[in-house]
Symmetry: D3
Subunit: 234 residues, 6 copies
């Protein structure tokens, strides 16, 4: 049985605290169970060199974990160098968020998203995307209202994990579940029912297509619930 008698298809409790880092253009402390992530956004003039004079904007992300966010202290990346896992996660976050908006409507600005994990209990990358998408929508709306960017739709987006644990398909794995999962998948899905990113990894054994189908169903349910956060006062 899962902790706190959670059902296999249930999310952990979610909470949001806005304006957590007031120096940022937008900032959220996003909690999903015991996974706590700060998502903050800075708006900068200019774009990376490969976009210069394109008229197009850019959205990019960096991801970090505080040393005591994990069970055994994780060495600081400023000391030991950034790991492959970090690169992989921040590339995933950035790619996902760039699907939310037509970059051509931004003009040559860069939206820099920082996701920093205060406490880690599984699902830090999906929590980072879900939290960052919310605060990115806040910032984009505000820029649009101020006329600093063009008229553009903002696509609602959320992310969740699912996996095969102890032979059962489960939604939103915590650290203990993730550690013993046979397979683990992360889904980024949009409000229009479409797929943005999908990463599925066999850890213990390859999985069948029917198992994969179950994970997809769970994920779609989870993302739908997370997207309710968008309809609340943002």
């Amino acid at each position: 049985m899962r902790k706190k008698k959670r059902q296999n298809n249930a999310l952990r409790p979610v909470s949001i605290e806005r304006n957590f880092q007031p120096h940022a253009a937008g900032s959220i402390l996003f909690k999903m169970g015991n996974t706590h992530v700060i998502c903050s956004i800075t708006v900068e003039d200019g774009v990376p060199s490969f976009l210069q004079d394109s008229g197009q904007g850019w959205i990019t992300a960096e991801y970090g974990m505080l040393p005591c966010s994990t069970n055994s202290r994780m060495g600081r990346e400023a000391v030991r160098g950034r790991s492959g896992r970090t690169y992989e996660i921040q590339r995933l976050i950035g790619r996902s968020l760039r699907m939310m908006v037509d970059l051509n409507k931004l003009g040559e600005i860069t939206l820099r998203v920082d996701c920093d994990v205060l406490n880690a209990d599984g699902g830090t990358r999906t929590a980072s995307i879900t939290g960052a998408a919310l605060v990115l929508a806040d910032v984009l709306r505000s820029l649009r209202e101020q006329g600093k960017i063009g008229k553009t739709d903002i696509l609602p987006l959320a992310a969740i994990s699912a996996g095969i644990v102890d032979g059962e398909a489960m939604l939103d794995l915590d650290y203990g579940e993730d550690s013993r999962a046979d397979a683990d998948a992360n889904f980024v899905m949009a409000g229009n029912g479409r797929l943005v990113e999908l990463q599925c990894t066999a850890e213990g054994r390859p999985i069948s297509r029917s198992e994969f189908e179950q994970l997809t169903e769970l994920a779609w349910k989870g993302v739908s619930e997370l997207l309710h956060l968008w309809s609340k006062k943002v």
Copy 2:
């Protein structure tokens, strides 16, 4: 229309040249169209520190591109540092290959896989996995025959890309197709019809579930054909 009138569900021509780097325990020059990758394997005593005294073996991969493998010369990673893309790809290769065998049967040895791209024309990561799986099977069989590792099954494995290009689902994208794809997916699948790794990324727009289904069908067809390489004299 695709180059050389290729059908949407057709692979590019595949060829294998074994023993390309004779100093290695096993070595292949794997060609898939104009994508050419050297896959070589070294066997080392000992395992990384997190496995010491576990009795278990390890399989790990490194990936590189020669400077002139790409259309515009790519700076050497020994000079500019390794990119996030490199970390992501070599983690994917390593994870996939570790699914091929029961690591507990290896004893404390490390199989180090080097995938170096001589020419790049799309699909270098899937070509790396397909080529490396072939040479890994060679090396494992040889070690098993010499009694240096225990009795263990070897799971056949191959990888292929598929994507939505110009509104159509296509198998095995070349560089030009990949550059203009709306979405791009890489599948690693096993001979037993199961899924090992799946990475799907929307580049231009999120995709529908039915589009995703088409990609899965194409990939399964492609992997099945690649697995024919396994039945040939290895």
Copy 3:
């Protein structure tokens, strides 16, 4: 006039939230006005090589700032490398905390202190020391009660800044005051009325000995008030 009509000799409001990062041996979110710092401690077996086989323990600190903690986003040190300022501050924190206890009574363990700034509004290094001293005392008391370290006194300690701003001596400078100060001093003082560390820097002009005396008086008053935190339930 200072913000919120603060007197020249007044501290900003102080608050403490314990157990902020539950994975750590001890953890505090320490707030001093708008300067917010997480101070967390990990206990590790073993000591640095220069102390091996000495029977002595060690206390060391690392300091970091989250990217959006500052007015204009500060690049991540994992990306741009650690600055001289960071080295200087974490050396100061470590030296100060090592004065709190007889290291010979610890046995060969290392107490690793992480100070991470969530929001910066002046005085981040003194807030780090004051917060870290509180949580270090918690952890040491707990280790002493469990018999994991020997009997040893714990010296109460706090730190505060003072400076000459607009020709006047002021206690506990915020960022705006610090930016225009003629001179800026950081004091680390112990509960027994003694000096642990003192760093005084002329920014605009060298200062007279009488000005320096005023800073010392203010600091002593400030530290005395901060040490009241120690008498509360710890």
Copy 4:
């Protein structure tokens, strides 16, 4: 008793050899007992980016130790990376020297000060400041005479250490004294009797205010004597 029967309030013998590195704009080999430091200055057009178009000049310092300057060979920082101690010292040297002159009178040039320790016997940072201040004054006077910088006063400056050793306050600690000091302070003081920088560190135990007063008195005496070097032919 101190080496060579030195009194507690006595400096070690001081000597200066000008023009030690003739390629520099100014260069001194400064000796204080067995502590020998080369201080050389280069004048460069332009300023760091944070000062561009400000019309203001800049003074910055780098500090290094030759590998065989210390009792047991110190690894080269080009090999092992720069230490926190190095950053701390060169920041102190730079800050101190910038107090000597009105940077607005320099125009957009950078004076780059290199302090390299040939032999170390305690007090290398204060010797670096005292030597560098002398050669900086030479270079500034020369630039002023050539009309390359504006009319500006040059503030005489010197630095010295003092500490509590074996229960007594002593001036200008050598390496052996420094190693066993209970507390150690470095003072940078100006010719006008004012304080530029002060760093006081308890090594063995926190010190009382009266002990701190004694260190201040000793330092002031030491700096006064060092400033006599300025009245000699410069």
Copy 5:
């Protein structure tokens, strides 16, 4: 006796495969016995900063070894950093090639030469120079024909090793011979009978002038034979 009954003054078999990396401006797979090197050239607009606005072009080289090119796997320089040996070799290649042409006739372009060793069996640096000189001549001739560079002669160039092994002077050492050589020399010589680079190193003992003379004679013979490659269809 040498492997395959090779005479002391005989080269190993040489072969050339042009257009090995089609993305490059010119590319050769050069084989000298079991030493196999890819030499590829990229043409870039612009020159390094020290040549800007000089009207002069530049030729520079980078050298690398694939991990499995050597008997025991060589760690990737992107992981362990570039070695002193690598710097030394690529500086030698670049200097040698710059003697082939009047850089003033190139205009401000950079010819970037990549030499990557697929298999190493002694003489990789001389094989790199011989192969790179051939492909550089191809590229220069092509640029000259297209009028992209000025009229300029191209000096034919080749390189070979010679050494004292088992008391005898031998040409073109393989890895086994090189490992036990008393002295080893690398010669870069031009078609006009002149010397471009010479590096002679005693490994086991200093050598006499008459021994050195023998190495020079062998090298000249070897280079003359290698220069026959130039008269073939290039």
Copy 6:
């Protein structure tokens, strides 16, 4: 005409100051005209890992230039990283010095040679070798007398440059001569008339064999004179 009417076959004035860095096992300030180099040696127990348990000793060198040693200030390698030139020079120094003694007689110790250039006016690498060979002989003799190493001969060694400048062969080039040389060679030769290292580089044009012969003659004369330093009280 050369500076100070120096003959083409004349060395610049040479001087030696022993015991320049008293913390070292041996130390010389070696001056050759305006090229001034500190050569210091440290003796360490143990050898690099590739020699462990071989019973053999090791001699290795590091080379550095102080920032103001050159005409325009050279950035510190601790800041900008070590250059290829530095690696090349210190490898040359180390290889040359290892020819002086039978390493098997040393036991498992490492002699670490530091060559640091105070002032550079051409020929810093040959001055480093000549100076380091003298101090190495001092240290080896002393270790031999104390019985810390076995009985072993010490081969006298010196190094000098020669080059073709303005069409003439000249010995011991200064910086100005070196800058305009057509070719430049560095010779390391032993007291027994044999060659230890030779590096000859065409800078402006390839040179003929007769020109190379002239350089060899000059070098041999120069080294013979430098070896007179060895017969003086060492």
